[in-house]
Amino acid sequence: MSSPLLRIDGLAKRFPEFELKSVSFGLPAGLLMGLIGPNGAGKTTLLKAILGLVKPDAGMITFQGRDLAREGAALRARIAYVSDEPKFMPGVRLRTLKEVHASFFPAWDEARWKSLMADFGLDPQNKSDTLSLGQRTRFALTLALSRDAELLVLDEPTTGLDPAFRRELLARLAATLDDRRAILFSTHITSDLEVRADLVTLLRDGEVVFSHSQDALRDSWGVVKGGLDLLETDGSNGFQGLRTNAHGFEGLTDDVESARRRYEGRALVERASLEDILVLLGRRRPEGKPHAA
């Protein structure tokens, strides 16, 4: 893999109620990366830092090897962003909003925009304040996808959208990827990522838990499901996360192979879905526990 299109290095940002602590990962061109994590893990702050909306306290973000803090304005011509709650000036027609937006991007592709608008069921004559949240997101996506951007940064673009549309959108996004483009995509709907994402980065409590390919995740993470009695005899040692209810326990391990050997015949050991990992890891790292892989 050549040097990544987007590289985040030791990014830190402290807010009164929350902190991003030395976040580092890379996103190579040609790939779609899913960014997941509980609310308050720092996903939106991280994405905003890439766009220069949030000024980091420390660390560096480079895009195509150039420092975004210093050359952000020029580089943003090639980075498109859809926020988690896109807002548009009320009372303005979508067509006008598009014209204003397009005037900043020489590579604007009008034909593509028109076909996206038709595909997404949007009327350019409509005014921005008549749109629902789902429609605002769709409109923001038409703008982001029509300017030949090399990095797409999408903050929960699928919230409130129905499964059929989400699937089409992801297929469409994946189809835009080539050897100079990448997509960074945060979501709560992890099943969306399982089909299309090449890489998954999990943020928790302001830290990167992992940033891996889906294959690597599948090979290492697992869920152990068993009765509460087993938990009592074996203890919860070695689990990265644990949830119990009246019927039994679910424990998360980052070494599924040795868990299989250890619990053979005594508990069910399955591969962990992204949702399993997220839910079982919980919102914060337990005191004194080391980082996961």
Partner: protein, 211 residues
């Protein structure tokens, strides 16, 4: 880039600029109707509130409607956005003065009473416009850009307090103003300096803000 940004503002915000511009239009009517000696006084008074308010109204709408983020993720720097606000105030002021002149020129030529002068404003009136621009725009703007609505309230609030206090304590403001006006070049330089200082502070405060 500045031109594109300006065009963006005019297209997205013209709706909320209509009322202030109508008021200015009525002001122009008053200019034409008034006596020669006082014809621009009312207009300048208007300028003091309306013109500096236009960029503030625009910026305030952007942040209230949540679209400031949209503006900042465009391939423009924070500095360009600050530059835009300062260019806007000059653009609107210049436009107004030009319109005022045009109105007077038209009126004079229709009446055919006078030889038509190049400038219908006195030097003092020009300086007056500059002073008002400093007070109502250059002073509050860095606070507004740096701290949002809170900054704006502090900026205008302190300004109004200052004006009221000066009026109540009967400070000998007139003598100070007359003395200043007697040195027009120095005065103009001081105004330009203050405007630049305001711009630099805005740049500093706006650049380090998180959105």
């Amino acid at each position: 880039m500045l031109l594109e940004l300006l065009r963006r503002d005019l297209r997205l915000h013209w709706g909320s600029l209509v009322v202030p511009i109508l008021i200015l239009g009525m002001g122009l009517g008053a200019v034409v109707m008034a006596d020669e000696g006082t014809r621009l006084t009312g207009l300048i008074l208007e300028t003091s509130f309306l013109i500096p308010m236009l960029p503030v109204i625009i910026h305030q709408r952007e942040s209230a409607k949540g679209t400031l983020g949209d503006l900042l993720v465009l391939p423009v720097s924070r500095a360009a956005v600050v530059r835009l606000r300062y260019a806007e105030v000059l653009f609107f002021t210049g436009g107004l003065l030009l319109l005022a002149h045009a109105a007077v020129w038209v009126e004079l030529s229709v009446a055919a009473r006078h030889p038509i002068p190049m400038s219908v404003m006195s030097r003092d009136q020009f300086l007056g416009v500059g002073v008002l621009l400093i007070f109502w725009f250059a002073y509050p703007m860095p606070l507004f850009l740096g701290w949002g609505m809170k900054g704006l309230v502090v900026g205008y609030g302190s300004l109004i307090t200052l004006v009221v206090t000066l009026a109540m304590t009967e400070t000998d403001l007139h003598r100070f103003i007359d003395a200043s006006m007697a040195r027009p070049v120095a005065m103009a330089l001081v105004l330009a300096g203050l405007f630049t200082l305001s711009y630099l502070l805005s740049l500093k405060f706006f650049s380090r803000r998180d959105f």
